[in-house]
Subunit: 304 residues, 2 copies
DNA sequence: TAGCCTATTTTGTCCTAGACAAATATTATT
DNA sequence: AATAATATTTGTCTAGGACAAAATAGGCTA
């Protein structure tokens, strides 16, 4: 009886999850979960009578922690074999808080986010926008906010759903502001998008907002556009500029080769702007590709 | 040399895609693709020198067609072995296009999209919206438009970038309209999101717009929310309803099991609404899960 | 110091063919 | 016509091996 109960508590009360569910919850593919077990001994799921893997909730949480560390650029071989305290220590060490001079506004917004106070967030965002104007709002408020929310999530201080919630609020707000400006269509609009593998589109939207505030027409194609599609779109829309963003999680080596291929396939009349955190590591770029670390560097004058 | 060239022409000019890409493009799981091949002889991909499956573009399109038929309630064993003409005939027989009287607008919008006439699309969308009002605009114009754009893409009649472009326009427009309505925050907001693997968020936005038009507060968490996060969010926001959408591309086998798991983990006070094209094929649902095939069925009265 | 070529390690994805439970269809029984 | 029993269909999971693409480290040049 006690034995049966302990098995139950492991399989049911312990909320074990089959490999498909863990794949969904962690974003780590089935094959990868199995090969990690083979190579590193972790995860080490319970088996049901049929021999199928059932992952205890604790291991799922640890996998999510591992996932966060991977997103910060660490490699599986270095961290998957580590025990839990070591992982938590690593996470704490990597917590590089960029200057405490977070603007009050951003701190207040995060506080409201933690309290799930939708109304307060929307009101405060509106107030800040009214004071700063769209361009400074994007640069001084939205960009730091996105960065800090992303980092808080990576450190486990914010839940995934809280990050998504804030993203959706910002998407709605920025789209609304862009629509308000009613920029006239251009024969050479700036084209914005990300390459496959890059799923963060908020940088594109921030760029579009700044361009709109400068009365520049932009077309945002959103995330994960296959390379050939970007080329076709740039040709069809006769774009003067193709703007791409690469977040910190983007695979390092591919940035340059992708930009080189794009440069080779795009007409010479189309310039390439490359922005986002991952660009900080890229040193040399193909000629005709402009690296943009800060929104201040957007060479808007060149296309007007 | 000539041998290498012929291989190239087969694998590259023919635009063959590895199984992982086909899984993403069709929403059919790897294992399922392999087991269909074993059982029904289709798909029948080319093999590269390593023995890996490479699916010609034509077979991918046929898989997407099969996908659409499955969504209408047909079973794999009946249709996967069929040849292409038979499939197209089946689709033609099953094709139930909603009210033909609003098709004119949609046809005109698609025509403008083909011509890349941003301005014309925006003007026309604005006019239709002014005439129909937000709710009917979403039901009669946006929904059919999204469906037809998606199908045109699946059939190779529209490029990926054209589909993305239209999506972004609609996202901007709907978000703007929702913002205009300035719905007051609710203590029990409707929560909207999709499960991991489901990357189409436009259905959520359409739902949010209709809810807003009925003065119902909704929180859109966007796409690919891990299941446990949806549960936590529903608890934290004290939601009366969790709304999910499953597009035609969603791995159909998992819909039911995911909904069952969600039902088990959510508090009984939270209802579940499940919508989207993939719901057309799901017959029996756990009690406490409401299937929503048409926006008309949204039980808005129950939460007001 | 920075770039670049080469060798080594790491890492994710794909392979096979069988197994089986859950979902669905079909037939039998009340 | 509804219910129960049986049969079929169908998606998911298993195993360990394999290998290319990517990341790292070492050595060389300017």
């Amino acid at each position: 009886m006690s034995k049966k109960q302990s098995l139950d508590s492991l399989l049911e009360a312990g909320k074990c999850r089959p490999i498909g569910a863990v794949e969904r919850d962690t974003g780590i593919a089935r094959d990868t979960l199995r090969v990690w077990q083979r190579r590193y001994g972790f995860p080490n799921p319970v088996r049901n009578p049929r021999g199928e893997r059932h992952y205890p909730a604790k291991q799922v949480r640890r996998l999510q922690l591992i996932r966060r560390l991977l997103d910060q650029g660490l490699r599986p071989g270095k961290i998957v074999p580590l025990n839990e305290p070591a992982l938590h220590q690593l996470e704490a060490e990597l917590c590089i808080m960029p200057g405490v001079e977070h603007q009050e506004n951003v701190v207040a917004l995060i506080a409201h986010l933690r309290e799930h106070d939708t109304e307060a967030i929307e009101v405060l965002l509106g107030e800040i926008l009214a004071i700063q104007g769209l361009r400074r709002f994007v640069q001084n408020t939205v960009a730091p906010l996105v960065k800090i929310v992303g980092e808080s999530w990576a450190q486990g201080q914010l839940d995934v759903y809280e990050e998504h919630f804030m993203s959706q609020l910002l998407i709605r707000l920025l789209n609304t502001e862009i629509a308000k400006l009613e920029i006239a269509a251009s024969p050479n609009p700036v084209l914005l998008g990300t390459l496959p593998g890059e799923r963060h589109g908020i940088g594109l939207l921030m760029t579009a907002a700044i361009l709109a505030s400068e009365n520049v027409a932009a077309i945002n194609l959103g995330v994960e556009m296959p390379l050939d599609q970007l080329v076709r779109a740039a040709e069809k829309f006769n774009s003067s500029v193709l703007g791409l963003t690469f977040s910190g999680a983007y695979p390092y080596g591919s940035v340059r080769s992708h930009l080189q291929e794009l440069r080779a396939r795009l007409p010479a009349t189309t310039n390439i702007w490359a922005g986002g955190h991952a660009m900080g590591r890229v040193r040399k770029l193909p000629t005709g590709v402009i690296k943009i670390i800060s929104f201040d560097e957007l060479p808007i004058a060149t296309i007007r």
